[in-house]
């Protein structure tokens, strides 16, 4: 730092603390409310202090709701999304950067186009396609039967996998890898595959980890697509289940502690991931912007 401590620094510190407070307060209130009984909350409003009912409310989440199986769904979908994106975008970005394609830019533009219009914007037609993925082949006149991927794990993950962000990020990363490494590998007698496996993959480990974390979180927190693409409660993801829990009980008085306990439970896995893999996540986000 160039000058000494000033009032400017004190203001900066104040801003940071306000930001931290703004982020933590809702999570804190959710957790604290989850530790009170429904009656208490209806009588005295949201809670700032811990109460005695946290364990009881969490147990209710596990016994009275579908959240446990839905969390399993979220885990499967998030893993599928993250693994699928990592593998596919690694291969795609590798071909784009290292295989000297004459029409590489066209392929890149094709894939990059998907970034402009996320699935949430085109959810209606995507749903129609997912309910019969053989439609385009049938349109070509091929004799294929109808296959619906609605209400399957793979169907929940696919639109997120068919997306260009991962390819874009890894392409940016590959372009920072010195091309002389590829030339050196070629001189050492390595072919493209060998270079990819022996040199590029080990070098990409941090970038892939970052991409994985980012896409796992994305897969876990997606809402609109899993909402429409799952028709039974047992196929819904945890976030959808939580939202249904909060909005479907219109007739009864809302059970806020149960909702808050569920919200805390659902967010536990991704938040733990963030706490542990913090630096990968930050690097991943920074990679989005070249």
């Amino acid at each position: 730092m160039i000058e000494t401590r000033t009032s400017f620094d004190r203001i900066c510190m104040g801003i940071l603390w306000l930001g931290i407070l703004f982020i933590l307060a809702p999570l804190w209130i959710a957790l604290m409310t989850a530790s009170h009984s429904a009656v208490d909350v209806m009588r005295s409003g949201l809670a700032w202090y811990p109460g005695p009912h946290l364990v009881e409310n969490v147990i209710r989440v596990f016994t009275d709701t579908r959240i446990p199986v839905q969390m399993f769904n979220s885990l499967v979908v998030a893993l599928m999304t993250a693994v699928g994106i990592c593998i596919l975008s690694f291969c795609t970005a590798f071909a784009l950067v290292f295989l000297n394609l004459r029409f590489g830019w066209l392929v890149f533009a094709t894939i990059f186009g998907t970034i402009l219009l996320p699935v949430d914007i085109r959810v209606v037609p995507t749903y129609q396609v997912m309910s019969n993925i053989m439609e385009p082949f049938a349109a070509l006149g091929l004799p294929v039967s109808q296959i619906s991927l609605v209400n399957t794990h793979i169907g929940l993950a696919l639109p997120a996998i068919a997306h260009g962000t991962g390819t874009f990020m890894l392409r940016q990363f590959f372009r920072t890898v010195p091309m002389d490494l590829a030339r050196a590998a070629r001189m050492d007698g390595a072919g493209a595959l060998r270079f990819m496996w022996d040199v590029l993959l080990p070098l990409s480990r941090p970038a892939l980890a970052a991409l994985f974390v980012l896409m796992f979180l994305g897969g876990w927190t997606n809402y609109l697509w899993p909402l429409v693409a799952s028709s039974t409660a047992d196929m819904q993801t945890a976030v959808v289940g939580l939202a249904r829990l909060a909005t479907d009980g219109d007739s009864r008085a809302p059970d806020f502690p149960l909702m808050m306990a569920a919200a805390s439970t659902v967010s536990l896995i991704p938040l733990t991931l963030i706490a542990v893999l913090q630096r990968f996540l930050v690097r991943g986000m920074a990679l989005t912007e070249k």
């Binding site: 809702p26 795609t92 129609q128 927190t221 913090q278």
Partner: protein, 294 residues
């Protein structure tokens, strides 16, 4: 850039085809289908669809509900994006000072990345509940002053706050990375020129951050209207009285609750055009103003 020494068309084809196939099937095909359906009238419960030309567009474009929801989408884009960029900007500039607090802040401020919009919607829905929430004391002093259930403006505010909460991590990380990438020679030069920390922040760091700010703003415009769905569906359900029925929510409701496939497809096409136009306009307006040679 040096050319790669590898060249293998079969391998390229093998590596590229899976993702190309997937994007074709789950991106380009749906986009094409949306456009096709917008020219057909689809029967809600199956049966033949009939070509109707621009009838769907005439119907949608003459529907005041559509225009209202498009206007709300535009309003939300601006009113939600501006704080969702400005607040992270302030935080990033504060965190860039290398204070002890910034270590904690850099950790905590990315946490919302792990909390779905719908999840935080549930939580904020409770926090802003007029009867048991954080603003209840206000209602006891002035009854009815805070009522997101009946007041459209209040409902809009809850969405903006929740959207800000969700948008902090990404924008903060990008802006902070941008600030940290600035060579500190600029700060040294500015200090020698006699600029204090305030002037440095406003005259040096802010202008040099323009590329990142631009990038973040472009993404936030689209991101806000997408993220809004999870918030709307859990906090306001489009209400009160349609005051928070943004186009994403209206399309969902029309398509999946009203079974109006043609109407939903037509609106999808219009929303896609809207989003692309916004992106194009931003690029045209701002692109040439934010590039610096280093």
């Amino acid at each position: 850039m040096t050319q790669s020494p590898f060249r293998s068309r079969p391998m390229a084809l093998l590596f590229l085809s899976p993702l190309i196939l997937l994007t074709a099937l789950f991106f380009y095909w749906p986009v094409a289908e949306a456009i096709r359906w917008s020219f057909f009238l689809e029967q809600p419960f199956g049966g033949e669809s009939t070509f109707v030309g621009f009838a769907n567009f005439r119907r949608v474009l003459s529907d005041p509900e559509f225009w209202k929801s498009l206007k709300l989408t535009g309003i939300f884009m601006v009113t939600a994006s501006v704080p969702a960029v400005l607040v992270p900007l302030m935080l990033a500039m504060a965190a860039d000072r290398g204070l002890r607090t910034s270590r904690i802040a850099r950790n905590v401020l990315v946490w919302p990345k792990g909390v779905a919009g719908a999840s935080i919607g549930v939580i904020f829905g409770f926090i802003f509940n007029p009867f048991v929430g954080i603003l209840t004391p206000l209602n006891q002093l002035w009854p009815g002053i805070w009522s997101p259930g009946t007041d459209g403006v209040d409902a809009f505010i809850t969405l903006i706050v929740a959207n800000l909460w969700n948008g902090i991590p990404f924008n903060f990380v990008i802006l902070l990375a941008g600030l940290q990438a600035l060579p500190d020679t600029y700060a040294k030069a500015a200090a020698l020129d006699g600029a204090g920390p305030w002037r440095q922040a406003l005259d040096i760091r802010l202008p040099l951050l323009a590329p990142q700010l631009f990038f973040v703003l472009v993404l936030e415009f689209t991101e806000s209207i997408i993220n809004a769905f999870g918030l709307i569906d859990t906090m306001t359900r489009g209400g009160p009285g349609g005051a928070t029925t943004l186009l994403v929510y209206k399309i969902y409701a029309d398509g999946f609750k009203g079974y109006d496939l043609s109407g939903a497809s037509t609106q999808t096409v219009l929303l896609m055009i809207f989003v692309l136009l916004i992106a194009a306009a931003q690029f045209l307006l701002m692109e040439r103003r934010v590039k610096y040679e280093r």
